[in-house]
């Protein structure tokens, strides 16, 4: 069964450094998302992406965050200058089409640890 893949599985970075999290969504999916989950808390929406542009973003997704789909397969999340509070599990998700009946499929996540 096709799945969303994320790399790396764990990223350790010094505060203030840039980090790029990578995702390969399911190949025929058109809608892409990033969520984050602070340890022990709920999953929070960061950003949605469709047709090569951001369709919606949350308050968390400030100027330090950016997303890109550099080619036909990868979808990346960049944090320009990381803060301690960015430490979390970051999940990429994708879905095939629009509409409320389409499930979002999640990758296994990247655990980001900021020192």
């Amino acid at each position: 069964e096709p799945e969303v893949t994320q790399t790396p599985s764990h990223q350790v970075t010094q505060m203030g450094q840039e980090v790029i999290l990578r995702c390969v969504p399911i190949s025929n999916h058109l809608y892409f998302y990033w969520y984050r989950q602070i340890l022990g808390q709920k999953v929070e929406f960061l950003v949605s992406f469709y047709n090569n542009e951001i369709s919606e973003k949350s308050e968390i997704f400030d100027d330090q965050f950016s997303v890109e789909r550099p080619d036909g397969s990868n979808f990346t999340l960049k944090i320009r200058s990381t803060k301690l509070e960015d430490s979390a599990m970051y999940f990429c998700a994708s879905k095939y089409g629009d509409g409320s009946n389409q499930p979002q499929h999640f990758g296994d996540g990247t655990r980001l640890s900021i020192l």
């Binding site: 919606e56 949350s58 009946n101 999640f106």
Partner: protein, 109 residues
């Protein structure tokens, strides 16, 4: 506005039943249920669409009461593999899912 899940935690013995509720103060288009095991990704279970439908998936089923903006997840004859945290994600007309805080289900032998 995030949906409210109840209860926060449930402990069952294998074979027992459980109900997890998810309610929203905002009009919903759909409710998505996920199960997450510790250290893993949320795994999609099912979607309930507005229209008050019910769905079943083996011994796990769910309902969506559009008038009450509430969804319930029913787990019958629970198995050890059902243990995990169950999240409802609500969709209110945009593409994003807003998740509740989760219900931790523990099934003991």
């Amino acid at each position: 506005q995030q949906p409210v899940q109840s209860p926060q935690a449930v402990i069952l013995r294998e074979g027992e039943d459980a109900v997890i509720n998810c309610s929203s103060s905002k009009a919903l288009y759909s409710v998505h249920w996920y199960r997450q095991k510790h250290g893993e990704a949320p795994v999609f279970l099912m979607i309930l669409l507005k229209g008050g439908e019910q769905k079943g998936h083996e011994k796990i089923s769910a309902s969506f009461n559009e008038k009450k903006q509430q969804s319930s997840l029913y787990l019958t004859a629970s198995q050890l593999s059902y243990s995990g945290t169950y999240f409802c994600g609500t969709e209110g007309g945009s593409e994003k899912l807003v998740f509740g805080k989760g219900t931790k289900l523990t099934v003991n032998p």
